[in-house]
């Protein structure tokens, strides 16, 4: 595989990603805080809300409370701009989801610079 193949694949993936209608219920927000501060605040908020906080490899934090598992993933999308993704585990309960997001968002406070609604 050479650079041409990768650039081609990237173009294809990038453009198809533009068109995807995410069916999944995910919550995401952008942050202009530092990477360390984001992780710190997520752990802090999770802890305060009674979640079992588990640090995962590769900029991810697991928040577990009873049957609810939330994977929080931080990606750098541009210089000083991070995308924080929250994905719930299999047992999706729409009501619980709305509850958890509200509390977490309050807990995250000012690291949230823009909230993007999932579909």
């Amino acid at each position: 595989m050479n650079a041409f193949d990768i650039i081609s694949m990237s173009l294809g993936l990038d453009l198809s990603a533009l068109f995807e209608r995410g069916e999944k219920k995910e919550k995401r927000f952008t942050s202009t805080s530092s990477y360390e501060r984001i992780l710190e605040r997520v752990e802090e908020a999770g802890g305060k809300l009674g979640y079992n906080v588990q640090k995962r490899k590769g900029a991810a934090i697991g928040l577990i409370k009873g049957r609810l598992t939330i994977l929080v993933h931080v990606t750098e999308v541009a210089e000083s701009l991070f995308l924080v993704d929250l994905k719930t585990g299999d047992r999706e309960d729409v009501e619980a989801e709305e509850l958890y997001w509200g509390d977490l968002k309050d807990g995250f406070g000012d690291i949230v610079s823009w909230h993007i609604e999932g579909t």
Partner: protein, 205 residues
């Protein structure tokens, strides 16, 4: 998906008449209207100014987490690094190709006209032109540094110019495969909400 659109279409700074855009591109008027739905959600994601910034473009690409899959394959990352192409440069390159006049943002006209090149009905010439610019990472007007394509370098000057590229692509048409996105034909079904904002009565194509 996306933000609350309080603005009427006409109030968007970048709004161009779908009928005009349709006449300039491979899209029908309905398809242009459907693209406007997509455009609106991308352009409001960081700053709600009706224009797509580089950040918003990257966000739209990253939002489904597919980039993680790309870099899950270490080989790809290694090859990009070996060629001294940071991944952000590839995304930047795509952004720059859409931002034809290098304004620093993509407006609705740019968005539609650039995507039109990827339509199955777009001309080969447009696709060849776009692909040439895509691989010309340094923007020098030549494709350089990539040994694999040196068989295209018929005059052996160490770089591939536009004519050499056209000849090479004519002999290897599979190279243009990435320049066609078949799902662009289904855009009105992917973004059906355009019908609520449609100003045009049109027979379905």
């Amino acid at each position: 998906m996306g933000c609350f659109h309080s603005k009427d279409s006409k109030q968007y700074p970048a709004f161009e008449d779908p009928v005009v855009l349709s006449s300039q591109t491979s899209f029908s008027v309905s398809e242009v209207e459907a693209l406007f739905e997509l455009y609106k959600s991308i352009s409001c994601s960081v700053i709600d100014d009706g224009l797509i910034s580089k950040e918003e473009f990257q966000l739209a690409i990253f939002k489904n987490g597919k980039k993680e899959n790309l870099f899950a394959n270490r080989e790809m990352e290694v090859v990009l690094l070996a060629e001294e192409i940071p991944y952000t440069t590839v995304i930047g390159q795509i952004f720059d190709l859409f931002d034809v006049k290098r304004k620093g943002y993509i407006d609705f006209g740019d968005f539609v006209r650039s995507l039109s090149v990827f339509h199955p009905n777009a001309s080969q010439e447009d696709k060849i032109e776009f692909s040439f610019k895509l691989y010309d990472m340094d923007g020098t007007g030549f494709i350089e540094r990539h040994e694999t394509f040196l068989e295209a370098d018929t005059n052996e000057d160490g770089k591939i110019d536009k004519v050499e590229w056209q000849n090479y692509v004519s002999r290897n048409p599979s190279l243009l495969k990435i320049m066609t996105l078949p799902y662009l034909r289904d855009i009105t079904t992917t973004f059906p909400s355009f019908v609520f904002n449609s100003k045009v009565d049109e027979v379905a194509t």
